[in-house]
């Protein structure tokens, strides 16, 4: 098959969506498919600033990057104005403002799609919240090229899936790939055809975590400057407002009285939000903070911890849960639609009430008070990842979806003759 992935950003840009598409592309190339990627030259979606080269070959994948319009302050203002009025009125007049403000606005990418999309058997559009999916879908429809959309819909953030033009793109595309059962249910509630919505999920390459497993826990703790004893809670992820770092800090503060030796290790790229947060919690004891780290340091953090906490309310999947599981660590997430589809509460992890620091603290206390239970949950999580969430498994599913789309198209053509 000749596949074209259209995605807003691609590694070295960091993020779950970027990693998903890169892993998938590389795995499909290793299976003998021709895979090209069209993306922007941006590292950062806040500004869509052109920073990366226009062409690069990464592990057999041809990555074509296109310049996009900078998202300056006034573009953000247009987006906020459009969204505010769209949610109030649901009027389509505000949609162009959201489409424009969200970006990436890239005439070069649009032109490349228009002239080259026919060379591919199928176009896969990734991350519905951005505008490229809408114009990519339009081009696919115009040229008669099959399109598949991976929306990465966050149930708690309507802007990621429930604008009229987004619903139209999903309904008109050949197939929609959901990350979890919860996301699939959400999309079916929008009226999509069940035959055209399939759960694929995302996965890990377990071999990339073997080094971490070989590392001794006490050595990992020494490397991170953590004491050898005590219960260590890991928060791993970009420190954005919706990720729930404040809840983790509140829960940690609440547990200080009961577990004075408890440590909270917060690892991930800092943001303006997190900087403000640190000044608020500067008096809190037992906090260890690391900015963006290398893969080796991340493995050390995963090995050093006793459980992973990510009370985020904006996850379409939550790949860090898989990372903790592969290292046999129990996880605690927020009871949101997607995360609840991934974590089986009480079996391989715990779910806390979204936005409730007390419930989160109770979950942490439960694991801290019962190391046997924590160990069992971690082991079950690892088993789950190896059975269902590896990159080859996911690629197999996506490969199957693409074949089904092509076959369905061929049947439609035969039936219409």
């Amino acid at each position: 098959m000749r596949l074209l992935h259209v995605t807003p950003r691609y590694p070295p840009a960091i993020g779950g969506a970027e990693r998903y598409i890169a892993d998938l592309s590389e795995e499909l190339v290793s299976r003998g498919h021709q895979v090209d990627v069209f993306t922007t030259r941006a590292l950062d979606f806040h500004s869509w600033k052109t920073e990366l080269p226009s062409f690069e070959q990464r592990s057999g994948v041809d990555v074509h990057r296109f310049r996009s319009m900078r998202r300056r302050k006034w573009v953000w203002a247009v987006l906020h104005f459009g969204l505010r009025h769209y949610w109030r009125t649901r009027s389509p007049y505000y949609e162009p403002l959201v489409l424009f403000g969200g970006g990436p606005i890239s005439p070069a990418l649009f032109y490349a799609l228009l002239t080259r999309a026919r060379n591919y058997d199928l176009v896969h559009l990734n991350c519905l919240v951005y505008s490229h999916v809408t114009y990519g879908y339009w081009v696919g429809k115009h040229l008669g090229v099959p399109t598949v959309i991976t929306p990465l819909a966050h149930a708690e953030q309507e802007v990621t899936y429930n604008l009229r033009y987004q619903r139209r793109a999903m309904a008109g595309s050949d197939h929609v790939i959901a990350m979890t059962e919860g996301e699939r249910d959400l999309l079916l509630n929008l009226g999509l055809d069940p035959w055209r919505v399939t759960v694929a999920g995302t996965g890990l390459r377990p071999e990339q975590y073997e080094n971490g497993l070989e590392l001794d826990k006490s050595r990992a703790r020494r490397r991170l400057g953590l004491p050898a004893g005590g219960f260590v809670v890991l928060f791993l992820g970009r420190k954005s407002d919706y990720k729930g770092l404040d809840l983790a800090l509140d829960a940690h503060a609440a547990l200080q009285t009961l577990h004075p030796d408890m440590r909270l290790l917060a690892v991930g790229p800092e943001t303006e939000y997190s900087q403000a947060l640190w000044s608020r919690y500067q008096d809190l004891d037992g906090i260890h903070v690391l900015d963006a780290v290398s893969h080796e340091m991340k493995l050390a953090a995963l090995q050093a911890c006793d459980c992973l906490v990510l009370p985020s309310v904006g996850e379409s999947f939550g790949i860090v849960f898989l990372e903790a599981w592969i290292m046999s660590k129990p996880v605690i997430g927020a009871r949101t639609l997607s995360v609840a589809s991934l974590i089986q509460d009480g079996y391989d992890g715990l779910l806390a009430k979204p936005g409730d620091a007390a419930d989160l603290a109770a979950c942490i206390a439960r694991l801290a008070g019962d190391p046997e239970l924590a160990h069992r949950m971690g082991a079950r999580g690892r088993e789950k990842v190896l059975k269902r969430y590896t990159v080859p498994h996911i690629a197999e599913r996506v490969e199957g979806i693409c074949l089904r789309v092509l076959r369905r198209r061929s049947r439609e053509e035969t039936n219409s003759q």
Binding site: M1, D121, P194, W195, T198, V199, D250, A251, A253, A254, L255, T257, L258, R280, Q344, D345, G346, Y347, L350, A357, A358, A361, A362, A365, R366, G369, D370, L373, R376, R388, H393, E396, R397, E399, G400, I401, L403, R404, L406, R407, R408, S410, R411, E412, T414, N415
Partner: protein, 244 residues
Amino acid sequence: MKVHLSGPKSTALLATADLFRLRGDQVSESDPVPLDADLYLFLAGHEAMKQLTHGLVVLDLRHGIDQDSAKWAPYSDLCVVGDSTGRALLAESHGCEPDRIFVVSGGGALLNLVDQAYSNLLPPAQVEKGHEPMTEANSAPAVSPGAPSQRFITLAARLEAADRQADVMLRDYQVRSRLPLFGPLVAWIRRNLTSHLREPYLDPTLERQVALNHELIAILREMMRLEAGQEARPESPYKEQPHE
């Protein structure tokens, strides 16, 4: 309709081939898998399933589900099993979407199914959503012995949240005006018109309130610490003997 059947030579394969021949379909069984068939029925996994980009691909597992065959399910348009146990096995152990697994008992039902699927008119398989499985969290008591009570943790979390709100002063507030050119003048006038109330009365009163809030939080925290110490203290083995 051109039908290609693939799988180990068996009575099941022959019976299925006869079923299609009887209704006048053109049936082939030999390898290699032809590329011009309309319907491909695989009784076992086959490498060709990864290359077929037209027609309808059905994985027929009515005669048994083994690991090798089941892993090909993602490459088929639909899977056919003999009973609901087979469906559950395929869905739970092999991650195949339940909507694409059809329970078929007789030959007529199979023909009907593939005809509907070929015309893209087949509704998804009806699947009953199972009950939430019993987990350790559901079955175990909410609090294990020796663990702090939920009420205690809730109170501690509320106390921390209250601590964040204890400082009620708007310390970053600045009087501003967006008026072009005259803005600074308007801000200066507003600042001076309110300062006689703010400086002698409002600010000191609110600062006293902030100090009181912090003091109360500190007292409550200390009380919680004492309470936690009592909860954690093991029962003394040397119980006082009653006086005789």
